[in-house]
């Protein structure tokens, strides 16, 4: 996939769309003050989940979309971040907000380390290695040697944090703002990273690693750092999830989770920052409407069984690969290009080159 010059890379700021979006997101919890419904807290929770997934997908996107390294194992970093947060809060009594930097550092380290063997792997093989990682993680988490910390199969139950003293928000509203703040910070960091030399280096490596190397880019360094940063982002999302869900258990972090992130990435669009948000929204939507989709499918196709969500994800993935491989964000970009082409003035025809017409008849 060739790198398209992103319009935001050349602009000075982040663009109006992004600004509007974040402001809009910031105003959503305020609805709670006028709408007094018990389900509002659940909507806040959905908002938190959406932001968490968006961050996780952003992490994956940095590695796969912008740097071309395929990972089927990001659930592992998510799990690592979640457990770090849970253990620090549970065992060491850390305040919830302090667990984020800790998770960030540990996950960066883990990702960076995994990046070394990953240097030698490409395409299918890297996918295979990360696939193995994803499958190994739940079993590893259940191992007896660390049950003391991890709570083994039953996991750890945590306490949901209260808003700081004096803030007139419900716990869910507050957590929403917390997630929003972290998300905004991380997206801003990613934006800056990608806009600068590092970002160009990452994308150059994705498009043609050998050419990038001949241009003086230290591909090994960039690729391992990309892994580290990517793991950092997804790890922080994991930590956030431990805080908001207030529970971690090994079976929440199976291969399925890594597949979810992949789905979010592909739906939203590779190498697209807004795509990560779209991916997050999609994941939360499907999770919540899985039952209704299943009923609809059962009715429409006259099935005898309930359609499990995993089948839906699989079908969505396939359809996207055929119809919209660049995801929703890519689709929107293509639409804009198509419209622009229609509206643009016609390109003047290049004049015919001077042609020497000397058709001689064969005398052989």
């Amino acid at each position: 996939m060739a790198a398209q010059p992103h319009s935001w890379a050349t602009k000075a700021g982040i663009g109006w769309g992004a600004l509007v979006f974040w402001l809009f997101m910031a105003t959503l919890p305020l609805i709670g003050f006028v709408w007094d419904d018990p389900s509002f807290d659940y909507w806040m929770f959905m908002g938190q989940s959406m932001l968490i997934y968006a961050i996780a997908v952003l992490g994956l996107n940095l590695l796969t979309g912008f740097n071309g390294q395929i990972s089927l194992g990001h659930g592992a970093f998510f799990a690592l971040g979640a457990y770090i947060a849970a253990i620090l809060m549970n065992d060491a009594g850390w305040p919830y907000w302090a667990t984020l930097p800790a998770a960030a550092v540990v996950c960066f380290g883990a990702g960076f380390l995994f990046g070394f063997p990953a240097l030698k792997l490409e395409g299918h093989y890297l996918a295979l290695a990360t696939f193995s990682l994803a499958i190994a993680v739940p079993q590893l988490l259940k191992h007896k040697a660390i049950t003391h910390w991890t709570g083994g199969v039953s996991g750890l139950v945590l306490e949901k944090p209260d808003p700081p003293f004096g803030v007139p928000l419900s716990p869910d509203q507050f957590l929403y703002y917390f997630c929003l703040g972290v998300a905004a910070l991380l997206f801003w960091a990613a934006f800056n990273l990608l806009r600068g030399r590092t970002g160009l280096g990452l994308m150059a490596i994705r498009d043609h690693a050998m050419a990038a190397a001949t241009m003086g880019i230290d591909t090994a360094l960039y690729k391992t750092i990309a892994f580290g940063i990517s793991a950092l982002f997804t790890g922080v999302a994991g930590a956030l999830s431990a805080i908001t869900v207030a529970y971690v258990a090994p079976d929440s972090f199976t291969l399925q989770l890594s597949v979810y992130f992949l789905v979010g990435l592909v739906v939203g669009g590779l190498s697209s920052l807004p795509g990560c948000i779209i991916g997050g929204v999609f994941l939360v939507l499907v999770q919540n409407t899985a039952q209704s989709i299943s009923n609809w499918a059962k009715g429409t196709f006259a099935l005898a069984y309930d359609v499990p969500p995993w089948a839906i994800y699989g079908v969505v993935l396939l359809l996207l690969m055929y119809l919209l491989p660049t995801g929703v964000a890519g689709g929107i970009t293509r639409l804009r290009v198509w419209v622009a082409r229609r509206l643009a003035p016609p390109v003047p025809r290049a004049s015919e080159p001077a042609v020497i017409q000397r058709q001689t008849t064969e005398a052989d």
């Binding site: 080159p353 042609v355 020497i356 017409q357 000397r358 058709q359 001689t360 064969e362 005398a363 052989d364």
Partner: protein, 237 residues
Amino acid sequence: MAAILEVEKLSAYYGHIRALYEVDFSIEEGGVTALLGANGAGKTTTLRAICNMVRRTGTTRLAGQDITRRSTEDIVRMRVAHVPEGRGTFTGLTVEENLKLAFHTRRDRAAANRDLDLVFDLFPRLAERLRQQAGTLSGGEQQMLAIGRALMLGPRLMLLDEPSFGLAPLVVQEIFSILRRINEREKVSMLIVEQNAAMALDLADHVYLLETGRVVTSGPSSLVQNDAALRRAYLGY
């Protein structure tokens, strides 16, 4: 003097970009035709278009039969052998396997084995390296292997894309003399795309000059060889 290949109004596209503009030409049966021109003129594209490897419009006829809509594999099975740019070697297979792959499409085993003997006769170096992995051969040897593979298809028409590319002059001479042998003794018609105009003009009877996707001139090779102005303008010497 029947035409083995006739191409009418051939246009070819890479995505939205047009590479050929309604090119017309034909190749006589038993003859050698050269397609010359500078880089980017559309020579390789022409060969690819004949084999339907790129999106194209226009008509292609092989010995009178319309092959415009046929797939690449089918055209090859009609005994058109294309020696592609870059040789197209199966680097993971041995030399022997590269050659014997043709047995998959040849029905007449006896004829195929005769062709194998011919290949070893023309290229003794390949016979020496039968069990060697093809990716480890030198450029010249890989070119010989590519021509050998083409011969194994028992072709009546050979399309060669820059057979001299990246090869030392002595090796080029050797290969071109072998091509002459193939054309004269085995009666294989040839269409050669070349940047090395001098060697191609020596071998070919007829020449087409391409520039930015259009035929700008055509004629017997002797005429082009003797026209200094033309040579300087389009061939650089």
